[in-house]
Subunit: 198 residues, 2 copies
């Protein structure tokens, strides 16, 4: 990239290292930043550094937050006896956006993966087991519907069941608006297995 001066090349390189940003987008972002007002660039730069430095784990549900307790765990009107276990904070956000779930969460920060060398000890499972000693009625396992997610769900369910707490998992099936023609066979079979009386 010797047709760009060094500062521009450096910035493009930095952007390319981010996930989901290819060479073209990195260029576009770099030139956008160069044309932004200085204060706006400083604001963006500060937001990154501050977020990185201030963000920690919620001491209750282990989600990423900048307080001791996250906004959800600190709300008294949430049902603290129902815990939904998710893989990461983005999955938590996906359910929060529905606005219909009133329980609390527990964020594992990953899923068991022998391929990536992630074992149960690398996930926030110990913290979950400690929470279960309080008054908990149900644990909803909402890990992703991937090999890793399902292995994690199985593992957790075996771990929790002896305590007598109800363990559930999300329904698997045809997504709303989905066209059967384009849906994979495993999903089709799961939808059939899980069929509901009308």
């Amino acid at each position: 990239m010797d047709y760009y001066s060094s500062q521009i090349s450096k910035l493009i390189e930095e952007f390319t290292a981010l996930p989901g940003i290819g060479a073209k987008s990195a260029q576009r972002l770099a030139f956008h930043v160069i044309n932004m007002p200085v204060e706006r660039v400083e604001e963006l730069a500060n937001a990154m550094v501050t977020a990185r430095k201030k963000v920690c784990y919620c001491k209750e549900c282990c989600t990423l937050t900048d307080q001791e307790l996250c906004p959800i765990c600190s709300k008294p009107d949430r049902d603290h006896t129902t815990i939904m276990v998710v893989e990461n904070t983005r999955d938590l956000a996906a359910y929060e956006k529905t606005g219909k779930y009133n329980g609390v969460y527990h964020v594992l920060h990953g899923a068991i993966s022998p391929m990536l060398g992630i074992t149960p000890a690398d996930l926030r499972m110990k913290e979950l087991m400690i929470r279960l000693q309080a008054d908990v009625k149900e644990v909803i396992i909402a890990t992703n519907s991937t090999l890793e997610g399902e292995a994690t769900a199985m593992y957790l369910s075996k771990l929790i069941k002896p305590s007598g707490i109800k363990v559930t998992k999300l329904a698997s099936g045809v997504p709303v608006g989905g066209d059967l023609e384009y849906i994979d066979e495993v999903t089709l079979l799961r939808a059939l297995d899980g069929r509901i009386v009308m």
Copy 2:
């Protein structure tokens, strides 16, 4: 986004304001940054602020650079009598990547657009006219093949022609690898008009 703590929301908002970054990508980027080592985040933040502060216009061709003269204008082995006029630094980079153009460039920083209120006075045309007083043999107008780009090309050509300098523009036609079936009519007619004897 009250399910995210304020620092995370702020960072997601900042990312969403960038071009081509939607809500999902912004979330993904924010969590990526939060999980990056602190030094890497600081490096990225500094690259942005430094690039924004150091980058200026090349005093010759007006491209964005961090020196008085850009890497291309400062090379003595480039042909300084042939100037390719482009809309922005990314277009310059596109031609540089071909590695086959040995002339120099002139960056207008936009195109004439009555819609956006961009007039010739907003573009680096005066700087181009000053350059033409030196020994220049050809000006290749390589503005985009859009309404604005073509209007700019027409305007420039009328401006330069009286000086007796040769003015050319890029060929318009079927892109290499293009399937006629999917190409718009205007392009098809231009390709026909510009047909070449084999």
